[in-house]
Amino acid sequence: MPEYETHDFDVIVIGAGGAGLRAAIEARSQGLRTALICKSLLGKAHTVMAEGGAAAALGNVYPEDNWKVHFRDTMRGGKMLNNWRMAELHAKEAPDRVRELEEWGALFDRTKDGLITQRDFGGHRFARLAHIGDRTGLELIRTLQQKAVADGIEVFMEVKVLRLLRDGDGAVSGAVGYWRPTGEFVTFTAKAVVLATGSIGKSWKYTSNSWESTGDGVAMALWAGADVIDMECVQFHPTGMVWPLSVRGILVTEGVRGDGGVLRNSEGRRFMFDYIPAMFAAETAKTEEEGDRWYDDHSAGQRPPELLPRDEVARSINSEVKAGRGSPHGGVYLDIATRRSPEDIRRRLPSMYHQFKELAGVDITAEAMEVGPTCHYAMGGVRVDADTAATTVPGLFAAGEVAGGMHGANRLGGNSLSDLIVFGRRAGMGAADFARGRSGKVAVDAGQVDGVLAAATAPLDREEGENPYDLQHDLQETMQSLVGIIRTGSELEEALGKLEELEERATAISIGGGRLYNPGWNLATDLPSMLTVSRAVTQGAINRKESRGGHTRDDYPKADPEMGSVNFVQRIPEGTGGTAGAGGTPSIRTITVTPEPIPEMPDELKSLMELEEAH
């Protein structure tokens, strides 16, 4: 059996993007022995890719903005599937969390009065996104990274966590993984564990997500017995690059539209005016002239339809392409060149300018971009208590994209960065409280560890077998073609069968080259997570027989109020998991789906929704 080192902490945080860093900073500030574990180098997590900004009702640009309006926008954007308490906490606390970043060194762009300025984004009634050009995520991660370093938090970089460990009472007691640079195994004992592992997008062929987004947190939570919710709600961001093929899926910030960019089809028509849904009709411009007036003065007209929530825009682009009015490479045109001066574009959108110039040879100050939907964000995730970020397994907490509930069926742009800092902090507080209250020494069960390590090393010992890259490719093709932006019952059923075949193949992976920085082996250990989350998304999509937010069913094109009153909860019931899946994990067939009523919103919040409706 391979040997391993063991480290003991009060709190370990798995994942070092915005949520993980914020959670670790919080737990450390309360005096707990805290470790941060990340799959890449510190500061490289996918948070760096966030561009547009962090939504917070600071009221610096529009004083009439406040948490109530932000709450209402978030709930409506999420098609009311959100956990109301999370949306409430988020709207109330985001301004303080953004200002706190400034106290830690972040340098947001300023208003004329010297305060943090805010930009417009889809679905937000007022200009609300605190930002730094179009590289807000980098600023956020660097600020938190530098704070974590200054606070002396211990960081385990390039460590892949394979599995959570549990004690005899079912509480989480630590985790086991390996150092990617050396392939040496490592275990952690901890009184509390925070999952902050981010997204699941790598299961799709065209995604804005990096290789890290393999859904490790959702999968490990399921394997440890936790509930996950809303997995069918996957956001396809309307504007990913479509050409060249090698960069297909890379994000083009919504800030382009927030700053005046418009969408056109091959006939030059601003087609979004043809796709305004009834729910948003009252607050959307009827004509181009009205929409254009709004950019300068929000009281002079309604917002242009390019700034509808992302699910609406993505579906509209999809329809235009299907109707034969797309661009040469299967997207539509996003035009800022005719709307803003070249200097303005370079100043407000420097990294978009850079990205198109260097990757596509396109000068966005002179020509339109070709864009199309790309798999971007998981609204669903681990079920948590809003106030403490506690999951349904004692000692396990979750924050950021890995957690479900906050964004309902569709996330508004800008609500992700604010989610990370609001609930990252709360998860750190929740984990710290739990760790302080947990008595006795937490021990690692050597039997559990040995089982995980034996399964992890099996692909290296197998003489012949499946190539993990082929498996990943086939999985991505399956999810892209059968569980993509528009879904239908028969295709989803077909996907279930394909996923089971893929799981079978994944139990027979063979890889050469040893454990030392071996990406083939690393991928082999990521595939069990990817298969598990793919199954959960597919099962959730089969059960949600309606169209809501990021989940669109061709065979059920309308929202169904009854469906809208439940979350589809998925779990592996205690004692049923086994080790028949890929890498010795529970088989994907053991995940069950149960509809459970969403928590009812209290009357005072309901009245906020109604009050605003009347406007």
Binding site: K44, N60, G105, W521
Partner: protein, 333 residues
């Protein structure tokens, strides 16, 4: 270590072959394979695919010919700074180097960054940078004014935040650290030299409108700012086009010089107590004595024999008053 030449023109292409060049063109990738114990270049031949960057082709090598080829990457959009390497001898990000920019009909040679220890194949151990980061005195803001407490946040003018924002664009790819020949060819300097990335970080903090800490003494005494001979190699390779030398290092050198060598300023500080300062300030503001005191009073001096010539002996950064000097703008061609 594998040393055979791999040639597999018929290998499957990740995207169903849709964009494979119609004329059957091929690319030859020459990749360094090995680990700390040694290694060498291995050739891989693949079909050419339109619109690819170097990282795409490396990934195709992984997927079709060498599943264990080590390569570090994340975002594939020039925003995370993970995939730094030396492409045809030039330090660059693999994800931002388009194959079409490289000379056609020539092999594409990819080697790991030379400035850091090899872990495996194209991946190096960059932990030195994370160690240096820990030694930078952190951000420490001034208190809010009454007006700011009421307004809910600090007030800063856009023009004032832009100076530091330039350095906060840094994606920590460490290409600047890799090419800086104070450490590239002189491993022994690493203990006493922070490197361009961290001079930019210190500059960012020094120019931050809210920060109150004085880092000049540490820059001079512990972080080897004087060793930088402003050849601008760091600026040249920066994928974010940060003017590291002109906008960070030279202003820092000026501040350090002002603090250490200007007798009038020194006297002025002695008489009129500064409000900004740290425990280390006394050391920073005292006139320097000993070898460091003979550093140039004007910071725009090239170290003779080093400009544009990596093989020239490096003397540790002391100043030779007889040597030919170069202005900052002449330091690079």
């Amino acid at each position: 270590m594998a040393d055979e030449s791999v040639s597999d023109g018929g290998a499957a292409v990740s995207d169903g072959g849709a964009a494979v060049s119609e004329d059957g063109a091929q690319v030859t990738m020459v990749l360094w394979r090995g680990d700390a114990s040694g290694g060498g270049f291995v050739e891989y031949v693949l079909p050419a695919v339109e619109g690819e960057v170097v990282l795409d082709v490396v990934h195709r090598v992984q997927a079709t010919q060498a599943p264990d080829l080590a390569c570090r990457w994340n975002c594939k959009a020039g925003k995370c700074g993970s995939c730094s390497a030396e492409i045809n001898g030039k330090p660059a990000l693999m994800c931002m180097t388009r194959m079409s920019e490289l000379p056609p009909d020539e092999d594409v040679v990819v080697a790991p960054m030379r400035g850091f220890p090899i872990l495996r194949d194209l991946v190096t151990d960059v932990s030195y940078n994370y160690e240096v980061a820990k030694r930078i005195p952190p951000f420490h803001p001034r208190a809010k004014t009454e007006d700011e407490v009421e307004a809910g946040g600090y007030r800063m003018a856009q023009i004032d935040v832009e100076r530091s924002q330039e350095f906060r664009k840094c994606i920590e790819c460490y290409l600047c650290q890799n090419v800086c020949h104070v450490i590239r060819d002189h491993e022994e300097n690493k203990t006493a030299f922070a490197g361009p990335r961290f001079f930019a970080r210190s500059a960012e903090l020094e120019m931050h409108p809210l920060d109150t800490t004085d880092r000049r003494a540490i820059l001079r005494e512990e972080q080897g700012l004087g060793k930088c001979n402003i050849t601008k190699c760091c600026t040249e390779v920066c994928p974010e086009h940060i003017k590291i030398t002109d906008n960070a290092i030279i202003p820092l050198k000026e501040r350090v010089v002002d603090a250490s060598y200007d007798p009038i300023a020194w006297l002025g500080r002695k008489i009129r107590r500064r409000t900004k300062g740290t425990a280390a300030e006394a050391a920073a503001t005292a006139p320097a004595t000993g070898p460091a005191a003979v550093q140039p009073p004007v910071p725009v001096q090239g170290i003779p024999g080093v400009d544009g010539d990596e093989d020239a002996p490096y003397d540790g950064g002391t100043f030779d008053p007889d040597a030919e000097t170069a202005s900052a703008s002449q330091a690079t061609e």
